[in-house]
């Protein structure tokens, strides 16, 4: 496996009333290309800070140390096209995007072949030619040419879809705007792609959903729209930060299934942030346990769940109230 990003000695400190509060105290790990990795922990563990740091979303006033290196080969030939796995039905428009670009080295990645090299390489070149123009302000520690762009290279799904969607803009336009920002396509094509995306996230009646406002949709539907917007520019990395925590159990299970399917279909790398170890286990292949800004352990799901090395991980597992846990009424002896 190749590492998509290497995080080394990452330290993040927020200033609160003039006092630095360490949110991350030197975290290091590799995120493998194509893997699904969950960061779990309780309040104050630093899990969301880590997600924001990876996405480059931390405020400029935040103190950051260490490095986040992306293994995005700078030497790759610059070419740009819409990844066919995302929009298989509109390939004729590809040529319009950048007519001078060399033909794609891999003509077909549809079907979600899990080979990391295959999944990652079609998109490699897209970065290098597109780091300028509209790029958000970044933390200065990253070399300019390896800076991934949020929205283009990283899709981010937040907990509350109501606050990540513009309440006074039709959802079709919001998704089309993401496409227009990152891909060189016309509004008409962007809307066509937006509709395809709404179909992919299984929104009922995508035609009318294009013209719906967020308040007309349920919480689960809004989260589907937010996911559609997050993957609109075919990012390599999808970050889901407590993306299902505000949803009821049934909708949560549907969104989990949706994320799993999209990640497999598009060959995305997935980072899941969750307080729920059981939910993390259903979405991820590996689990990283954070506490008080430190990485306690990192391992395959099975190892973390069945043979945790750290006592804290064990206590998280014990605190999980699954449908097979011993009822607390019994534990204390006096059930009716």
């Amino acid at each position: 496996m190749t590492a998509l990003l290497s995080i080394r000695d990452l330290k993040v400190a927020y200033r609160r009333d003039g006092v630095a509060v360490q949110a991350l105290k030197g975290v290091g790990l590799d995120v493998e290309a194509g893997e699904r990795l969950a960061f779990i922990g309780e309040s104050g563990s630093g899990k969301s800070t880590l997600a924001l740091a990876v996405a480059g979303l931390l405020a400029k006033t935040v103190e950051i140390g260490g490095t986040i290196d992306w293994s995005i080969a700078k030497s790759q030939p610059s070419h740009s096209f819409a990844p066919p796995s995302v929009l298989p039905d509109i390939s004729p428009t590809r040529g319009e995007i950048e007519p001078s670009s060399p033909p794609s080295p891999i003509s077909n990645v549809a079907g979600g072949d899990p080979t990391a090299e295959l999944l990652i390489s079609p998109q490699l070149g897209e970065m290098s030619g597109r780091t300028e123009g509209g790029a958000v302000e970044r933390q200065p520690s990253r070399p300019r040419d390896t800076i991934p762009r949020l929205g283009r290279d990283i899709g981010f799904v937040f907990q509350d879809p109501s606050s990540s969607l513009d309440p006074v803009m039709q959802v079709g336009k919001q998704i089309a705007e993401v496409i227009r920002t990152h891909l060189d396509v016309s509004w008409k094509d962007a809307y066509t792609r937006a509709k395809t995306l709404l179909e992919r996230v299984r929104l009922p009646d995508p035609d009318s959903a294009l013209h719906a406002y967020p308040h007309q949709l349920s919480g689960g539907q809004k989260q589907r729209v937010a996911i559609a917007a997050a993957i609109a520019a075919a990012p390599k990395l999808l970050i889901a930060d407590e993306a299902t925590s505000a949803l009821d159990t049934i909708v949560q299970a549907e969104i989990v299934a949706l994320i799993r399917r999209l990640v497999a279909e598009d060959g995305m790398t997935l980072i899941v942030i969750s307080h729920d170890i059981a939910l993390a286990a259903t979405l991820a292949d590996r689990i990283a346990v954070l506490r008080h800004g430190e990485l306690l352990e990192l391992g395959e799901n099975q190892q973390i769940i069945e043979a945790p090395r750290h006592a804290y991980t064990r206590s998280l597992l014990d605190a999980h109230l699954g449908l097979d846990a011993k009822p607390m009424l019994d534990r204390q002896g006096a059930s009716e």
Binding site: D276, L323, P327
Partner: protein, 258 residues
């Protein structure tokens, strides 16, 4: 005799011009010292039922009997006195308190308003309440926004038990807490129930939590009861479509338990 009897309760809202039945012909009862859980997907009517039982909103039809009298017919002093017996704890304690108040102020209010303790006696009662919910009495001087989420939820419980209620409505009261804190709060609630014989109307979307603490469960779907019964029996073998869907959707931790 049951502590709370809800009969044929109905509440309709207007949704884009057309009426929408949030709660539709609903009946259930809660016995003293019993935990009855309400579960169901978003929009099934859980929180509307909580608000109706608390008389925060008025039903369109139906009857609520609490401690042997028609709760919806009570007014004035009789209503205020009975309200002391029916308390509530919500999901987000920060939203439930004046954030600039101190812990002492939050707990002093119910003691004063309901005439439970004299001014001279109240600081001692506040300290006793804090100790009852497992907090240090020294926390009384702290501002609500300064304490942790778990501590705030303990303060919310302390405020609820200050008036010696027979029933507490817990609306997603542990949903926002870290799992380790959640376990402690659930244990506190079970302990209070045993010691003070408090009944709980326990609203949650989490069947795992319900199975751990509730005696009986009512599964709701679109404002109606889909099924009800012994919490463990219903969750082990749901009969309704919504019950099966809720059980199937619960995240599972597959591991070999020691």
């Amino acid at each position: 005799m049951s502590l709370l009897t809800v009969s044929n309760l109905a509440k309709r809202y207007d949704s884009g011009g057309k009426p929408f039945a949030a709660v539709d012909d609903l009946s259930f009862e809660i016995n003293p010292a019993e935990t009855l859980a309400l579960a169901g997907p978003s929009g099934s009517g859980k929180s509307t039922i909580a608000r109706l039982v608390l008389r925060l909103i008025q039903p369109d039809a139906g009857r609520i009997d609490f401690e042997g009298s028609d709760f919806l017919a009570l007014t004035g002093a009789a209503l205020r006195a009975r309200r002391a017996r029916l308390q509530m704890v919500f999901q987000d304690p920060l939203a439930a308190f004046n954030p600039r108040a101190t812990v002492a102020r939050v707990l002093d209010d119910p003691l004063r308003i309901h005439g439970i303790a004299s001014r001279a006696e109240r600081p001692r009662r506040v300290a006793a309440l804090l100790e009852r919910v497992g907090l240090n009495a020294g926390l009384a001087a702290r501002a609500i926004h300064e304490i942790s989420g778990g501590q705030r939820q303990r303060v919310a419980i302390a405020r609820a038990i200050a008036t010696k209620p027979s029933l507490i409505v817990l609306d997603e009261a542990v949903s926002a807490l870290d799992v380790s804190v959640r376990g402690q709060i659930l244990e506190l609630l079970i302990d209070l129930q045993r010691q003070e014989r408090i009944a709980y109307l326990f609203i949650s979307h989490d069947l795992g939590v319900i199975r751990a603490v509730a005696h009986r469960v009512v599964l709701l779907d679109a404002g109606r009861i889909a099924e009800s019964g012994d919490a463990r029996a219903v969750i082990a073998n749901p009969q309704s479509a919504i019950g099966k869907a809720l059980v199937a959707a619960a995240p599972r931790l597959t591991r070999n338990r020691p």
